[in-house]
Assembly symmetry: C2
Homo-oligomer: 334 residues x 2
């Protein structure tokens, strides 16, 4: 067995768009598991937009990554050695030890996956953190009602496409906003979105949204922020709900993010806007896992992944998120 | 009896700050009440910031005022003639027929006041629409918890000063933002606010707020919008709530209202921002009237009015709202 653990550390804090220089590749011996610990070998690791926030040293909803340490994030791994009665060699688990090929973790930090229920990669996407994020943001903050109009930005990402499919299950009209014609086509043809807009080729987003949302917008599920959101917010209906899930358009901004103030739109419409992070709902995860898995197995919830091969390509896969390269969940196969 | 009804109509829609030219004074005969109607004589009438919105012909939470018709709003009136079994001559009522000296209204459009419970003018302030607005905005959206910090903009207005007093009843630290040293002094010395800031003489609002809110801001009750709100929103805590009640700083703006986008602050703090109008809570008015009246009679809720004498001064009293002339509820004694 390869006795070397390969890790990617944060070498310096990016200013604006990160590049490869902000990261360092580090090799170290694979540690031995102690009592109630597992030695894991990474099969798939997750790269996510929120990680950009943790690379900066400023207040956010999760603490900044320390410098010169491994970048934490979701993984799917195989148990190589178990010192816990709850796991055996060969079990497949989800954990959160991040960008490294191996790790020793406490058994309680691993969630055993059942490969017969769904492909194990879904534990990092539709049946994992992005799926839970979609579930609670849409159902708890958005509270869709039949016949309403739901607009989703970043709709072809792991969260956005799950939001759209759940919104369809709830009987709403669903319009996605995404950044390529291929994504737009996928949302409409494969996922059953009622309509989708390529914001990169649309000159006037407000007019385009107005045309495809003749009854206005009841829920705007926001993953991106910036001018796309300005357009959507100007079309909200009375009683609209706006779950704020992400602001990927801003994560690499070097200047202040300035735009039309939105309070007037919220005020005259008695509308609600709420930021959230999936861990706000930790106590309700079992309910969400149950519903998501049921919908998945009934074929009502499709999953889509973009998988890059090779641990060495992890940073490039991460940087690709900000160029809109991924359709669905971006993973690295280690 | 004076048989002439005097009214103030909207003559033209203001652009930017309204002036007297936007209004016309009209005289007409006093109508006769029909079955189940009352002839009322205005004692006090209300001028409110929200009226500015209704003078423009654009989407808002209430329909625009029609041109060449009386400007609707709250009044306290005396029954001159009653064709309803529920009212008798001399009763004092609250109604909403607006800027005129007399009116005939359906009996169901009048709410009988008990002058023994509280001065009748309170029906237009602390025990009326502004009081209800404060009550629901703070308690239903803000949901104050003991020990939290509540910041209120427009704190010396009818809504703001009621919000602050209820927030104190709930055991919070209360900081008001107002536009004169006299108002600041009043809030601190008469109403028991923990601190207050004169935004007109404060160079750096963010620093001033930071100093007086060492534990951050849990509730920002917003009556004003604009840069004052930008400063407050940059200091919110995790789980903060922001009831949006008004945006008086913007009502007369002729250019687009642009500022730092606030979504990031809401996102990283899982914070909630919600617009509302008091009529959203119409079904719960009885509960609020009961609580407000109880607090008032127990001396826990003080009321303050600025009363201008003479129907002819109505427009000037209204314009004065935007110059920050009023302390508490601005009324006109007819």
């Amino acid at each position: 067995m390869d006795r070397i653990n390969r890790q990617i550390h944060l070498k310096s804090r990016p200013i604006g768009m990160p590049d490869r220089e902000n990261f360092e590749w580090v090799e170290s011996p694979i540690p031995e598991p102690g009592e109630n610990e597992l030695l894991l070998r990474t099969l798939y690791l997750s790269v996510d937009p929120y990680m950009r926030g943790r690379m900066s040293d400023r207040k956010s909803y999760v603490p900044p990554y320390p410098l010169h340490d491994v970048i934490a994030g979701g993984v799917v791994a195989e148990v190589v050695e178990s010192k816990s009665p709850d796991f055996k060699k060969g079990d497949i688990v989800e954990s959160d030890y991040g960008w490294q090929t191996h790790a020793v973790v406490a058994a309680r930090k691993a969630r055993k996956l059942n490969p017969d229920l769904a492909p194990v990669t879904t534990a990092l996407g539709t049946l994992g953190m992005p799926g839970l994020t979609a579930y609670f943001g849409l159902l708890d903050i958005g509270r869709p009602r039949e016949g309403e109009t739901v607009v989703i930005s970043g709709a072809a990402g792991a969260v956005g496409m799950t939001v759209g499919q759940i919104a369809k299950l709830k009987g709403t009209r669903v319009v996605g906003i995404a950044g390529s014609d291929r994504k737009v086509q996928y949302l409409k043809e494969e996922l059953g979105f009622d309509d989708a807009i390529n914001y990169k080729t649309t000159e006037n987003m407000r007019e385009a949204l107005k045309k495809t949302c003749p009854d206005g917008i009841d829920i705007y599920f926001d993953n991106v922020g910036g001018p796309v959101s300005d357009a959507a917010l100007s079309l909200i209906n009375r009683g609209a709900r706006i779950p704020l899930c992400g602001q990927i358009a801003l994560y690499n901004l070097e200047k202040p993010d300035v735009g039309p103030r939105i309070q007037s739109f919220l005020l005259i419409n008695s509308a609600l806007m709420k930021g959230f992070i999936v861990t706000d709902y930790a106590e309700r995860f079992p309910e969400a896992y149950r519903d998501l898995t049921t919908w998945y197995r009934e074929g009502k919830l499709k999953t889509k992944e973009t998988i890059v091969e090779g641990f060495d390509n992890t940073v490039d896969a991460f940087l690709g998120l900000f160029k809109g390269e991924n359709l669905g969940k971006q993973l690295v196969k280690v």
